[in-house]
Amino acid sequence: MACARMVKHLRLPLLLLLLALAAECNSMSPPEKPDKLGCRSPDKETFFCWWTPGSDGGLPTVHHLYYKTEGQENMRQCPDYHKAGSNSCFFSKTSIWVEYTVIVEASNALGNTSSDPLTFDLMNIVKPFAPENVTVVVNIEDSPHLTIQWHTPSNIDTKSGWVTLKNQLRVKPDKSKIWKNYASETQTHFTIYSIDLGVVYMVEVRCAIDNSWSEWSNTTFVKVPNFSRKDNSFWILVFSLCLIPLLAAMIILILKRKTVKKYILPPVPSPKIRGVDVQLLKSGQSEDVINAMLLNQRFPVMIPWKDQKEDYLIVSDKETSYLPLEKKKIFILPLAMALDSEVQSKETSEVDHFPKDSESSSEESSDKTESSQLLTKCSSANVLNDEKANRLKGVTEKIFQPFGIGGYVDIPRHEHMQEADYSRVNEVNGDNILIMKKENIPHTLDTQGQEGSVPDNYSMVKEVNSDNVVFLEKHSESVNASFKAKGYIDWVNQKPKNLHMTGHSEMGVCPQLVGCEYVDTVPPPAVI
């Protein structure tokens, strides 16, 4: 009795306990249906399938994959659950162009759950893996280019022709967003030439079987250097070597620019008048101009023509002054002009010096010039030529009238002179001195333009002493003589003064010439 009552009382808690136990058991359930079945063949010969398992229902769950091909009735189990990883099945022996049907079943203690079946043909699930070992080599020696090489995925049989691979690669600069695709049919290498220096490039490769493309390979980064170091240093060296001589040449040119300028642009000779200062002219003082033009001018000295012919002076007598005049020509000429066309002058320095009764420093023809000067100056005196005078060489007929008024006697070139016209040369002293014979014919050459008349102020040359001394005869005839003497004396007296006044150079020729009017080249005293 008491037991029955106890059981009655225990029934409710037991029931509650059982219910509680049952409630606990309800959290365990059969597994969920596996989901997301997928299959893939990387080489058109094998394939593998994978699935995503659902919840296991709290109990340890196993998954099984079952498949069957078309034409078969029974499902077969997966041959390899491990090779392709967890939750996968790997098929090594396959048939193509047959439909496969695959089912995955999850089972635990409480039950089984099957996934949706998947049907496929092997030819439709072909998708190769990405290429392996992608290497990119940068080469900038000749022209910058990238050489890309890769390997086909393993286990793909292209030799038998079962699989034909196509390749494709894409390149882009690091900063850009646009990929550039290149197709490489069956080659596993490729060269890209259009790359820029100093840019980082990203390269990816993929392949395809029967137009089914793989994923892109892992990106390979490559940096193209900025320049070729070897080239750069070489060119720097060449450049600097070329620069040094250039710089040196420039410096030399700058330092010697004046010389260079003279060399390149030689100065054009401009006409110059000796002794004329152009700057002075430019300054424009007319007096200076006149001085420059007239006074400073040195007239060329007429050098007696060095002829072998000997010419001599012809001085006409008073009496014989009526002789035909063909041999005499009396001129009054302006300053410093040659009398005759026959006058031949040599333009030498001595010629220049001549009008000034030039210095004794005139070297070469000094003797001759002296003689000529001597003769001409003393032409007013009775200087007669003789045949001996022919020995006088270098004497021309050139007669110069120095500054001042004077007359000229034209000396014809007759070698043979009539004696009547001439006074005899008595003696020749030295080279150039004529010593006249004393004649009774006191005639002097009229050089004032009167033919044959003997001017009063002339006297005959009495004697020539030494090189430059000529002694005149005294006239004792008339007042003229006295006058002459006077003049003579005066002249003599004056002479030294004049001589001294005129200075040095003119004296050198005829310092003590007395009675000659033409000793001086300065404006003559108004003796006459």
């Binding site: 058109k44 010969e45 078309e70 396959t94 048939s95 193509i96 162009w97 047959v98 439909e99 049907t101 949706d116 079946p117 998947l118 049907t119 043909d121 030819m123 049989d157 292209t158 030799k159 038998s160 022709g161 079962w162 034909t164 069956t186 029967d210 137009n211």
Partner: protein, 230 residues
């Protein structure tokens, strides 16, 4: 001037030579010759194989496109068991179902299989094209593809026949294949089954068979003339 004339004449002669001398090489690109007529340059076997393989690849891609379009517009759901009857009219032709099987098969047999397949599809495709033109729901540009497909099957068969002839000429292939050349030999009773097939099934079957032809040709080529590309 004479130098100029001479150089110009040399250039002209050179151009003329190029024009005339290039003609023999251009004959390589001439269409396939029948019976090796005189003056017709015979292509090499490898070139012939390459041509037919390219042709078959093109054919398969067109059939693939057609099938995808058809599936897109008329049959949206996939993964259906029993969706396709899988009863192609060419199922009775024994075809190797894998690489090893195809490699183990003799050349003559393989060649026969190819030819049989090609012959079997000529009429069905033509009728398919005819039915498509009447079927206005079908997209217009697809009708071009169906026409192209039927033409290509015809051309490919002729091309393969040329290859077989060449191989027989070269002694690579025995003459047992020749008996199967005529199309009538392939017309077996029951070949009219294709009329019962629906259009979609027809496309599905043809897609598979064109892939078979392409692969068989490749295997054959790499076995007989293993050049680059294998």
């Amino acid at each position: 001037m004479p130098g100029n004339i001479r150089s110009v004449s040399v250039v002209l002669v050179g151009l003329l030579c190029l024009v005339f001398c290039s003609q023999p090489t251009s004959l390589d690109a001439a269409p396939l010759c029948t019976n090796a007529e005189a003056g017709c340059h015979v292509l090499s076997l490898a070139n012939l194989f390459d041509r037919v393989i390219q042709h078959s690849a093109r054919m398969h891609s067109i059939s693939n496109d057609l099938h995808s379009e058809f599936e897109l517009y008329f049959l949206p759901s996939k993964n259906q068991i029993g969706r396709v009857s899988r009863n192609c009219h060419t199922s009775n032709i024994l075809t190797p179902n894998g690489k090893e099987n195809a490699q183990r098969m003799a050349r003559e047999e393989l060649t026969e299989v190819i030819l049989k397949l090609l012959v079997a599809w000529r009429d069905p495709l033509w009728h398919f094209h005819q039915s498509m033109t009447h079927f206005h729901d079908f997209i217009d540009f697809s009708s071009n593809k169906s026409l192209k497909m039927s033409d290509m099957v015809h051309e490919l068969r002729k091309g393969v026949q040329k290859v077989v002839e060449k191989m027989q000429m070269l002694g690579i292939l025995s003459n047992s294949v020749s008996s199967l050349m005529s199309p009538e030999a392939f017309l077996a009773p029951g070949s009219a089954e294709w009329r019962l097939m629906k259009d979609y099934e027809l496309l599905y079957c043809f897609r598979r068979d064109s892939n078979k032809v392409q692969n068989y040709l490749k295997i054959l080529k790499c076995r007989i003339v293993p050049e680059d590309g294998c």
